[in-house]
């Protein structure tokens, strides 16, 4: 027996079995105790509860939701809300971050100072404090009766009311797709035909593509228009309440603003790092080839900086996506809040925690997969790049 323990292989195997076994035993013991405790409260384990109706409602949903809908539908709503808020937050944060980051790398001292002040202030204040702050600001706006009005939008304590086209849901989605392709199509055309066609000809094709896409959008909107009411539905005050238009709830706007400002300060630093990573020789070579400063920026600095930032940016995006869980602080029904509510109402603790982990794992993995694809697609091929 003792001689067996002296054997390195045996000892290693024993250690591993002990380590994994101990951890597994801990988890197992927890699950067993939890199931017994829950059973005492009359909660049967299993995933049957997913098909029961919830009996409570959500305050924000892109899909139709009522209190009669089953739990699995609410989980889906939660995931879509998280992804929606995350995507809006990411886009806004990227916009803010790019502007501030460019200011920080600019050759102008004052612009650099401005960018640096922004980053120093907003990066050093916790995100949840900023969420609370914006939520307090928005909910202290005037009531609908005394709303601020700007460009047809109404700013009130009950949310931001914006005018919407008076069209059916599917037609609206199709129109948005058409508008997106009006931007994406010319860019794609520009990429594929960069070397084969002269600049003027290419510009013509790009403009034509954009115009066609925009025209398609207009046709879709005209066709999908609902029979009653004007083309654009403006929010108006009727009695004590507001009618018409689209209401963006204060919870959503507070989170989106806070994520944009806080995330923007981190992305600004990533943008700055990316531009700093572009070798000075690259720029000097481009200038000495006679490229204009604008073309040096778009053809040399930006593409190289983009490649340097992307991996770090991907991490930041994953982080921001997880930051949407702050929704629970102000009552935005994101995935995590749905999970917390479900635990409160159904008591199916273990199953719901499992769903929570699986949900975030899925979100993280798919984001990572998307960014790996992009990274691979834009990586410099061959070995032209020397450090």
């Amino acid at each position: 027996m003792v001689s067996l323990l002296r054997n390195q292989k045996v000892r290693n195997a024993l250690l591993q079995v002990l380590y994994v076994g101990l951890l597994a035993a801990l988890v197992l013991a927890g699950v067993v105790i939890a199931r017994r405790n829950l059973a005492e409260q009359g909660i049967t384990s299993g995933f049957d509860f997913l098909y029961k109706s919830t009996g409570w409602d959500v305050n924000f949903s892109l899909l139709p939701a009522t209190a009669n809908d089953p739990y699995w539908w609410f989980f889906l709503i939660g995931i879509i809300n998280t992804l929606f808020l995350g995507t809006v937050g990411l886009m806004l944060a990227t916009l803010v971050g790019t502007i501030v980051g460019l200011a920080r790398t600019s050759s102008n001292e004052l612009a650099r100072l401005l960018g640096r002040t922004y980053v120093d202030i907003f990066r050093n204040i916790p995100l949840i404090l900023q969420v609370f702050f914006w939520y307090a600001i928005i909910t202290h706006l005037p009531t609908p009766r005394a709303a601020h009005e700007a460009w047809g939008m109404l700013l009130t304590s009950r949310g931001l009311y914006v005018p919407v086209p008076n069209v059916g849901g599917i037609a609206f989605a199709a129109a948005i797709l058409a508008v997106i392709s009006a931007i994406a199509l010319p860019l794609w055309l520009g990429r594929t035909s960069r070397l084969s066609q002269p600049f003027g000809e290419r510009l013509g094709i790009q403009l034509a593509a954009a115009a066609t896409a925009l025209a398609t959008a207009a046709v879709i909107l005209a066709l999908g228009r609902l029979p009653d009411g004007p083309m654009l539905d403006f929010p108006t005050l009727r009695g004590l309440n507001l009618q018409g238009g689209l209401r963006i709830p204060p919870e959503f706007s507070a989170l989106a603003i806070a994520i944009a400002i806080y995330g923007g300060s981190y992305i600004a630093e990533i943008v700055r790092g990316g531009f700093k990573a572009v070798g000075k020789g690259q720029m000097e070579a481009a200038l000495s080839l006679g490229l204009s400063p604008w073309r040096v920026f778009t053809l040399v600095r930006l593409p190289l900086a983009l490649r340097a930032m992307l991996p770090i940016l991907a991490n930041q995006y994953v982080w921001l996506m997880k930051a949407t869980t702050m929704g629970i602080a102000v009552g935005f029904t994101d995935f995590f809040m749905i999970v917390a509510l479900t635990i409160n109402h159904s008591g199916q603790t273990l199953e719901v925690i499992g769903i929570l982990m699986a949900g975030f794992l899925a979100i993280n993995l798919s984001l990572a997969a998307i960014f790996n694809r992009i990274n691979k697609a834009i990586a410099l091929k061959g070995n032209q790049l020397r450090g």
């Binding site: 290693n12 250690l15 591993q16 079995v17 380590y19 994994v20 951890l23 927890g30 699950v31 105790i33 939890a34 405790n37 829950l38 200011a103 600019s106 050759s107 102008n108 001292e109 004052l110 612009a111 100072l113 401005l114 120093d120 202030i121 990066r123 050093n124 204040i125 916790p126 995100l127 949840i128 404090l129 609370f132 702050f133 307090a136 600001i137 202290h140 997880k322 930051a323 869980t325 702050m326 629970i328 602080a329 995590f336 999970v339 917390a340 635990i343 603790t349 925690i353 929570l356 982990m357 975030f360 794992l361 993280n364």
Partner: protein, 359 residues
Amino acid sequence: MEMVVVAPPAPGKIEDLKRRFFATPLQALLSLISLAVMAFIAWKLLNWAVFSAVFTTSGGPEACQAAAGACWSVIAARWRIILFGLYPFDEQWRSALACVTVVVMTVLSCLPAFWTGRRIALVWGAGTALYYVLMKGGVLGLPQVGEEAWGGLALTLFIFVTTCLIGFPLAICLALLRRSELPWISRTTALIIDGVRSLPLISILFTFAIVLPFALPQWLVGDKLYRVILGSALFFSAYQAEIVRGGMQGVPAGQEEAAMALGMSYWQRIGRILLPQAMRNALPATINQFVISFKETSLVVIVGFFEILASGNAAYGTGEWRFAYVEVYAFIAFIYFVFVFSLSRYGAFLERRMSVGER
């Protein structure tokens, strides 16, 4: 032949300004826009925070609400709630002293003289013990104050300090386990680390505060505060473990091989060769992680703790100060800013200092 080099005349102040800010029309435009933005914000902010602000409580909330600027009276009236939460009024000096203890401890551990494993452990162990005695009392004639009454800045600092104190050794253990040569140990540890990292901190805090009591035997449940601290420490250690591992990868393999050739045991190799060098490599990222986890202590407000953010909400949430939410949040933001900004400046200083050594 002798050449006379004449230095160009020193540029005057105006020429210098011209060169720096108005070299080209585009530069001039950029400068002017930036200047205008800065002046506008600075004027608005100063006007609000200083010129038209009310600083005294003499007029009461009504006079304050009528003022055009900030109402700092709310801070003057409610600072005790914000800083100390629900801690008994007569004992709040203890809470203040406890905060000072934490600050002193942090400053001490920033000094290079304390950068040996033993000294840093001593400073943090003694500091946390002192904090605990001051806050909890029950000895030395101090009346006992339960954890449920702790709050405000003192609670924020306590959660931060204990998170680091538990999380840091745990991170080193996790990092060592992850680079173990035994495949099942390293794989299982990697699974734990990556699993924790893929979850948002709020969900972990929620699980530890509300779900864990179901999965523990009665005698192990303990106070909610300590469960939340454990959850937060676990989260911290999962991130910090990756930082430590990164630092270990930066240590050349020859170092460990040389140590082996000298006949050092595993623990000697780890403690005397690998870890000191790895920690040096990992220092900037570690400071950054401290900064992040300090900001993240604010998340405990969601599982119902009365830390500085919640006590701020309470400070303006009642009756007469309901309008003064901006001032309260600005005050809390300022407190966070002071802590986080000085820590991150210190990190930047360390990074510069270390890059000098490597040149």
